[in-house]
């Protein structure tokens, strides 16, 4: 197995994140608590949380800051080392910038997958900085097609799939697996983008063209699984061991994750099976770091591994307060070569509600007063300057003893947040 060395626990140890969104933000908070330093690489235009300008606008103008003017950064104003993830600007395709970034770090890890596996390989070679998950693990999951091949070969059930390169391929697939089926962009795609549901033979051509199939873009067709529930399991792994989180349930709204319930209110044996499959999946790619695996659960109790992410995941945000060691902490520990912490839950139930933007415009959160007083109710706001309808702006986690009450409370409070 890949072995990653233990980094020194000092203020000079720098953990670099490729990506500067809320996942990096939450992992960086752990880096800071453990006294190390975080650095983030923000690919311009690809990260949600990068603010244009640097806020503030100089002396005597604290009320002028809403204008978004770029401040006069004088000699008196320096980034405070212990809390400054150094931000490197450059696109995710900019090899030179990535190498320069990696050289500043003692280890580099991922925050998102808008990356090219071969490029990551070259960055690691040239910078000589360890990268976890490794480029080879990443390459095995890089395209949806390759991901399914990897897991299928490891004996993990996946939804029936086929790489398709022509309208004819799609027609054959429809004949073999029935309608509807899902056509997916094999590379790229996020939160529902890059998917098309094909309801009948008549819809094939439009779907194919809209996803760039006629331009040679790699596509896969997946049989439609009428699932009963969607589940997720996070796993942390490095040379010291592996920690598997509880199986949770995820509820989507228009292809975007809305609610997560932990533990998933399902048969304990099935939950155990999902966790076992997650363990097999991370081993199949010799993964080091924090991985998340999403499953379909059918009415007749069958599990299918649907998607994987080689990084902390929305489905695991509940772990921050809900588990002894959060996914973010175990992400940092894993890549830093430290022993992993227990993933046990602290409370019988944890419910996370995503806070999605409900309007387009400057992001100011309107939070109901009762939320602040509520028991074990934890608000996270990602600090993005602009809100957009459906944009992930934050999340709310509620811990409790009983599912219905806790889920109801979370849903009610979240519904009253306007951002």
């Amino acid at each position: 197995m890949n072995k990653n060395s233990m980094l020194p626990l000092s203020a000079e140890t720098t953990i670099g994140f490729l990506g500067a969104g809320q996942l990096a933000r939450m992992s960086a908070a752990v880096v800071m608590r453990l006294g190390m330093r975080a650095a983030v690489f923000s690919g311009s235009g690809n990260t949600g949380s990068v603010n244009s300008g640097t806020g503030g606008s100089g002396p005597g103008s604290n009320r002028g800051r809403h204008s978004g003017a770029v401040p006069d950064i004088t000699a008196a104003l320096q980034p405070l080392e212990w809390m400054t993830p150094l931000r490197y600007a450059g696109g995710f395709g900019d090899e030179e910038a990535l190498v320069r970034f990696a050289r500043e770090c003692d280890v580099v890890t991922l925050e998102n997958e808008f990356l090219d596996g071969d490029l990551l390989l070259r960055v690691r070679e040239k910078s000589e900085t360890p990268m976890w998950p490794s480029p080879s693990s990443f390459l095995q999951l890089e395209s949806k097609w390759l991901e399914k091949e990897t897991f299928r070969k490891a004996g993990i059930p996946v939804t029936p799939y086929k790489k398709v390169a022509s309208v004819g391929d799609l027609t054959d697939f429809g004949v073999a697996h029935g309608y509807p089926f899902v056509l997916k962009s094999s590379k790229g795609g996020y939160d529902g983008y890059g998917n098309r549901t094909v309801y009948n033979a008549g819809g094939i051509n439009d779907a194919f063209v809209s996803l760039g199939g006629d331009a040679g873009h790699e596509l896969i067709a997946e049989a439609f699984i009428p699932f009963h529930k969607e589940l997720a399991v996070q796993v942390a792994r490095n040379h010291t061991g592996t920690v598997v989180y509880p199986c949770c349930e995820t509820i989507q709204q228009g292809h975007i994750c809305k609610t997560v319930i932990a533990p998933a209110p399902i048969d304990k044996m099935i939950a155990g099976e999902a966790r076992q499959l997650a363990l097999q999946a991370v081993e199949a790619v010799d993964g080091i770091g924090l991985f998340a695996f999403e499953f379909f659960l059918t009415d007749d109790g069958r599990l299918y591994l649907n998607e994987s992410a080689p990084r902390p995941h929305n489905s695991g945000h509940y772990t921050i307060e809900g588990c002894i060691t959060s996914q973010f902490e175990n992400h940092v520990r894993a890549v830093a070569g430290l022993p992993l912490g227990p993933a046990n839950m602290r409370f019988p139930v944890a419910v996370m509600e995503n806070i999605l933007g409900v309007r387009n415009g400057p992001a100011v959160a309107d939070v109901p007063e009762e939320l602040w007083y509520a028991d074990e109710t934890h608000l996270h706001i990602y600090g993005k300057q602009s809100s957009r309808i459906g944009r992930k702006m934050g999340h709310l986690t509620v811990l409790g003893d009983e599912l219905v009450e806790t889920a109801g409370k979370a849903a009610e409070l979240a519904s009253k947040i306007v951002l």
Copy 2:
């Protein structure tokens, strides 16, 4: 009562901390989670966590960073807004720098007390930025003598004291209250510095001179209280209400806090009384923000308010994982005008062990492997670059069901940490 307005929950809302040590670090982490922005003012030479140089040393030299060379900060390297407390350099006596800092913030609060109350008043006037606790609250506690006067007049029991300006005054005090007694610097003083125990009349002169009494430095003499235990209570307060934390016990080692046990293993009525006195104390100064009050408890069950801090306190670090809402979160909520969160404990017992430096030199933490695997064991390292014997370098909090076991586990693990 002072009323502070509720700040907008947005990425442009800046909460400023006067002081850049570990207390600002832990409060800033909350500011970040709530999607706002932190700024810190570091008085040069007065803060423990300010690193000389800015770490790093440019491209291609991640192994060279231990040399402490100042990095080449290129255009590609910018502070990342969402995690950068802007650091303002300048002494705590530099009015212009403080005013400039305050103008960048939507509210300013304290992280330490190495500040002059009248100066704070002028800074608030000139910047027009709200400051909590208010300068007038701060002025009432600014000198130890004034602090005792304030609480005594509010009917809160304090150790017998007297302002002393001559050797004769000290002799009189010894006659009236017996030996030993404690001579204290009325202003300044931190973690035992600025105190002298006077064991007999023969020790008076040395003590007086060593604390600058002959040079007109304000001193107070305090009767020695043979205490059974030392206790502490944190209180958060603003116009929305007041939240009083559990009464905890603090155990010092050579005048420095070593261990904190929550809740304090004492008679519940006395714990309730201490919490009541803490509430009275914060009201006596119309305090807004997070305050900590330290008490002596005598063998016969009497409480004396010993010291107060108008800011989060070492005694309250256990609240981060140990309570529903940490002292740092309620500090931020209080000064931002937000409703305060519940201070109930999550577990029957929380024990915090300070991690004090055991050597002089670069700070690299040596942590026993079993700590990482241990249940509900939470490590905090403050990211200071240099360790010094006795310096507060971090802390460890262990949560559990039972006191003896939890305290034993915390002590054992902490004793094995070398930093």
